[in-house]
Symmetry: C2
Amino acid sequence: VGRALAQLLIRKRLELRQRYDVAWRAVGISTGSHGSLWSPDGIDLDQACRLVESGGRLESLPGEPVGTPLALLDRLDTGVMFELSPVNYETGQPALGHIERALQRGLHAVTANKGPVVHGAVLLSALAREQSVRFLFESTVMDGAPIFSLWRETLPAAELRGFRGVLNSTTNMILGLMEDGQSFEQAVSKAQAIGIAETDPSGDIDGWDASVKVAALVSVLMGVPMTPQQVERRGIREISLTDVQTAAGRGQRWKLVCEAQRQGKGVSGRVQPVLLQAEDPLYGVTGTSSAVTFLTDSLGPLTVLEQDPGPETTAYGLLADFLRATLGDLGLGG
Amino acid sequence: VGRALAQLLIRKRLELRQRYDVAWRAVGISTGSHGSLWSPDGIDLDQACRLVESGGRLESLPGEPVGTPLALLDRLDTGVMFELSPVNYETGQPALGHIERALQRGLHAVTANKGPVVHGAVLLSALAREQSVRFLFESTVMDGAPIFSLWRETLPAAELRGFRGVLNSTTNMILGLMEDGQSFEQAVSKAQAIGIAETDPSGDIDGWDASVKVAALVSVLMGVPMTPQQVERRGIREISLTDVQTAAGRGQRWKLVCEAQRQGKGVSGRVQPVLLQAEDPLYGVTGTSSAVTFLTDSLGPLTVLEQDPGPETTAYGLLADFLRATLGDLGLGG
């Protein structure tokens, strides 16, 4: 995603300048295994991408090596930090700490990492307000599709009563491969081979990834803090090849469905396999696509469907947040 | 829609005050057949709705009768005007004139009428900018679902390359009834009986309504002025009951599909019946629901689906625009 973002920033450089009068310069990069660099005069992102792709280290570029992400942040006091480290479902660290430091230093923070959202949304948003900067995370659910900004910027005076969606592409792909006749184990192997499923696929298969997304949507859009552990969770292990094929023969499909609904002052969240009819807006959500249907007090069910996302899509969500941080937005309800 | 808007404003009065610090007062109403009224101290909207429902005239309420919408506008110099007169595909009048006058008087103008958008978007938007007010029209396409605001406020730095949608609910309902075995004529009569189709249903059946929506989306979102006449247009008269039933037997459906795509510096727009597979995101758009899939340079296909809209949904779009006019929005790309 980091490289996709770099390439998108380069591709859109002229457009950002002409359309928004926004110019950017990359002044620091900190990576897990390719070193880190601070260079106030600007890092050539194209060169940095090539270096990382060829296995090199950033320290070979002009600038000053810095040890850790926090050490890099301590050299900065303006701009936008992109936090793109891998998700930690349990604590949100170390991303949470990076974002906290960035906000404290007066930087905007933009992330594609769900961990800090479910484990620190209230804290980080309050800190951002205090520092007059933004904490934005559009890319954490449904890649770059507008979900958080849809609610923050386009749906004033509508109350979210609940939602229902297909938000985990690994399980969706596995169930699709089973529909094509592959066993669960074969389907998992194939999803791993094409880079969709991780080496340990249990985060997806047991519904953790989906639960984190439910918790993030509920916490931010419904104003009721929820942890992934509070989401009632059943994964797809219980769905057999026979189940999937029987459903297919009837024009139906099993999918791992995410749901939430208001109940009194609280909200209940749930992730479970559901048998969907062809009429269901979620039935056609196949492959890596994802979708969510919002139930409100003011509109009929409103569905956002994103097909065939990739790292470029996530990068676009980060770019959109970068522009919001730089230019400001309406902030209705936010 | 006017009454639905009045009821929504009443229902949301407290929420608007508490959440946005916005208070409103209705100071003038002009109707086609229930008279018109100016009352700077405020009109009791609940009373006005009951009066209109019982066939009464507004002049019986406290205030001053005013002859025409323009005469009413000439008494106002601040606030928001809602233009809700019936659509005129050919010229956009008289709505276009009402909106022009409102903007000239320094009022914001919010409309659910497509006519002024396709016949005056450039003119009216320029006039609004000049007067430092807003011309907003979220409810003209897909009722209250965020379409124009989605692009204006949540998709910065994405280029719209084309779109594809089901945007006319009358033809969609007729084709659905034919799928259930009714003849074209029976289906039209039924759609008229439940108030979906008009007495002269040709505006829907021959694809004019859909063409106006294509023209509005292209003109506003793709920046290329297009009239409904420039949209290549085929209605649903050529689709026989046999066609519909044969398709249904194969798990397929005929729908009137709206499309546009960039071609060089221009854009081509088209409305035509298309045979859809079950996998198509538009396949499940049934009844009065509508949907549009946007094709961009930055995201995978992005679909917005609105199910079961009603006058309340259109009213919600008007309320959302009212809040934007009153509070301001990001205005990215706008």
